[in-house]
């Protein structure tokens, strides 16, 4: 699905300072993680539609088949449900598959295998079997992706026991979390974001891990906690810049993992700021926004100085057209306004669908 390449290539990000370390692209970081894992463990293999084609899964799998052979890096039939089962069966028998998808939408075809099989086998057979499976997909946004190619489905998985769900926001994390996911003995879903793929970052060479289940503070602040993951953090950081012009000091908490959630980190930050705004790349209702918001009200109630606030996608399918997309997707400005309202007036944004 390279149609959005032009769009993604037109995105502009701040360049990291090479003095701080080796600068690589996001895509390169993912590619390195795969390459290192393949080199390090003969059990690792990479499969997915087009992983060996010239587009190479947005470039993330470039060169891997040449290096590791057709048996370890291979294309699949258009059979998402069976291939999820095949990957699960292989994982149950000593392999460490990384099953890559262009879009999370396609993972919905395999929910039965993912949710009712991969996530449950370890429990159902009393720990006899581990399922070290990685399911990777890149959330689409813009350029007419539309209702069927843009779904950010992480919210559907927040409640599913036995799964882990990870959403990197930087090249460093993309590599470190992917390595952790491959090393993990449980099924781990990684949802990348198409718009981060143009981002460069400081990425160490060699193997390192970013721990699954731990959030990280991206920006310390006093007045409000803005919490989210993946591309939402990018927007939140931009919003924080604007907010500082208004004298508001926002703390940005990058969840990194949305299942299991680092509740301690959320509560700690909330304790400091007293206000929380949850941002997510997925639908506002249910899912990540709801879970984090509910945790705040359940376990951090005493610290709350204002309503819990959230910004996600409105309760509407994604429109394909450009103009409608601009109205649909939250941006830094909308996040900043919501934060401002919350801090200044103790007001959470109204329900988006009735705007």
């Amino acid at each position: 699905m390279p149609w959005d390449e032009g769009l993604v290539n037109s995105l502009v990000y701040d360049q990291p300072d090479p003095a701080e370390g080796r600068v690589t692209s996001y895509v390169q970081a993912v590619n390195e993680a795969l390459s290192l894992a393949l080199a390090h463990d003969p059990g690792v293999f990479v499969l997915g539609q087009g992983v060996d084609d010239p587009s190479a899964m947005f470039g993330t799998t470039r060169g891997l088949q040449e290096k590791f052979g057709r048996d370890r890096v291979f294309d699949t039939p258009l059979s998402e449900e069976a291939m999820m089962g095949v990957a699960t069966g292989a994982a149950m028998n000593g392999m460490r598959p990384v099953y890559m998808h262009n879009r999370p939408d396609f993972v919905l075809l395999a929910f039965n295998q993912l949710i009712t099989h991969a996530a449950k086998f370890h429990y159902m057979d009393n720990g006899q079997t581990n399922v070290p499976l990685v399911v990777w997909a890149a959330i689409g946004r813009g350029w007419g992706s539309g209702a069927q190619h843009s779904q950010a489905i992480q919210g559907l998985l927040v409640g599913v026991p036995g799964l882990k769900v990870v959403m990197p926001s930087t090249p460093y994390d993309a590599k470190g979390l992917l390595l952790s996911a491959i090393l993990d003995n449980n099924p781990v879903c990684i949802f990348e974001h198409r718009w981060l793929m143009k981002k460069d970052g400081i990425v160490p060479e060699g193997l390192y891990r970013v721990p699954i289940g731990k959030a990280v503070c991206r920006r310390p602040g006093r007045d409000i906690t803005i919490v989210g993951a993946s591309h939402a953090i990018e927007l939140a950081m931009q919003a924080a810049e604007r907010l500082s012009d208004d004298g508001i000091d926002a703390e940005i908490l990058d969840l990194r993992t949305i299942k299991p959630l680092d509740e301690a980190a959320i509560l700690e930050s909330l304790h400091k700021t007293g206000r929380i705004l949850v941002v997510d790349t997925g639908w506002m209702k249910g899912g990540v926004c709801a879970e984090v918001g509910c945790v705040a009200a359940e376990r951090g109630f005493a610290d709350l100085k204002a309503p819990v606030a959230r910004i996600g996608l409105p309760d509407v399918p994604t429109p394909a057209g450009y103009t409608l997309e601009q109205f649909y997707y939250p941006d830094a400005a909308r996040i900043a306004t919501a934060a401002l309202d919350l801090v200044r007036h103790g007001k959470a944004p109204g329900p988006v669908s009735s705007r």
Partner: protein, 354 residues
């Protein structure tokens, strides 16, 4: 991949293959089929030409090279018959009678697009002409078309449903499930498989063992035929046969039509140079261009000459220019439009009571 070998060969008969079919069609019909293919080709080319201008902010999947399937198929259908398709919609939409202006407005994200800028190129739908639905999910439209056929059967309507699918779509389990159900209930649906040998840039051989798709379809007790997808008349007649079977309650047919797309899977250019397919392969198929071949046939039989072609070209080119101008001048949607049609609010037929 640096090999220049041709992996997937054309194995039809070329121009001689038209022979058995020409006599069965009136001249006007033959010319209509030709014109319809030419028009689609020119529209697609113009879309391809302008795509880099980024006014059409929508993924596109051009049908250049695959015109004979949509046109031949639609020619064998009535306005009230239904057509469903996957992501590669342009040919089906135009052949079934979809409005060009509404299509280009949709692709330019204008509010008067055929689906109000909600769907883009992958969702060219116009129920008034029987272009009934599309899915951007591979295989997504297949059971839906089967359900549409079930509805026609239950309502006793004299309506046939066709669904376009690609070779890769036969790998989705839902397609097999749909064939089984269609055969079980003998619903009036035709599974039209455009086998262009590739799924994006993945060749058939990396996705399926070497097999005959007709056997696969027939194993579900679905009538199964193969037809030269570059031969608009052969396609037309195969569909007509399937339609007759379906209308008479004989149930579904699977039609495999080998074809070739001359451009990249998505976007405007050709991507053969990236090496996933041999340029020689594309060239070989371009030499059996469905439009050129049919033009030759019509020329040989004296139905078409250069002046006639030129007249067609002029007419088409004017239509296209006007349609683009119309689209570019059309209004964008507003924020309010975003929130329309999330839920249907109108009362259903059963709403009168209760």
């Amino acid at each position: 991949m640096t090999e220049t070998n041709i992996r997937y060969r054309y194995d039809g008969d070329g121009v001689p293959g038209f022979e058995p079919f020409t006599g069965r069609h009136a001249s006007a019909e033959l010319l209509d089929l030709y014109r319809s293919m030419l028009r689609i080709r020119r529209i697609e080319e113009e879309i391809g030409r302008r795509y880099h201008e980024d006014q059409m902010k929508t993924p596109i999947h051009l049908v250049i090279g695959q015109e004979a399937t949509a046109v031949g198929c639609a020619g064998a259908l009535r306005l009230t018959d239904l057509l469903y398709s996957g992501h590669r919609t342009h040919g089906a939409y135009l052949a079934k009678g979809g409005d060009l202006k509404a299509m280009l407005c949709e692709m330019h994200c204008r509010v008067n697009g055929c689906v109000g800028s909600r769907g883009g190129s992958m969702h060219l739908i116009d129920k008034r002409v029987g272009m009934a639905g599309t899915s951007a999910i591979v295989g997504g439209a297949v059971p839906i078309a089967t359900g549409a056929a079930l509805a026609a059967q239950m309502k006793g309507e004299d309506r046939v449903v066709v669904v376009f699918l690609g070779d890769a779509t036969t790998e989705e389990g839902v397609t097999a499930e749909s064939l089984n159900f269609a055969a079980l209930k003998k619903v009036p649906v035709i599974f039209f498989c455009e086998n262009n040998f590739y799924s994006v840039q993945s060749p058939l051989a990396t996705r399926q063992p070497n097999r005959d798709l007709r056997n696969w379809a027939a194993a579900h007790e679905v009538a199964a035929v193969r037809v030269d997808g570059t031969n608009v008349l052969a396609v037309h007649d195969a569909v007509a046969t399937a339609v007759a079977l379906a209308r008479s309650g004989g149930g579904p047919t699977f039609i495999e039509a080998p074809v070739y797309r001359f451009r990249a899977h998505g976007g405007a250019g050709d991507d053969s140079a990236t090496g996933y397919r041999a340029e020689a392969e594309r060239d070989a198929w371009e030499s059996v261009c469905p439009i050129a071949q049919f033009g030759d046939v019509l020329g040989q039989s004296g139905l078409l000459d250069d002046p006639a072609i030129n007249a067609m070209e002029r007419e088409i080119s004017t239509e296209i220019a006007e349609a683009f101008a119309f689209a570019l001048a059309s209004p964008n949607p507003t924020e309010e439009d975003l929130y329309q049609h999330v839920y249907a609010t109108e009362a259903g037929p059963t709403d009168a009571v209760g």
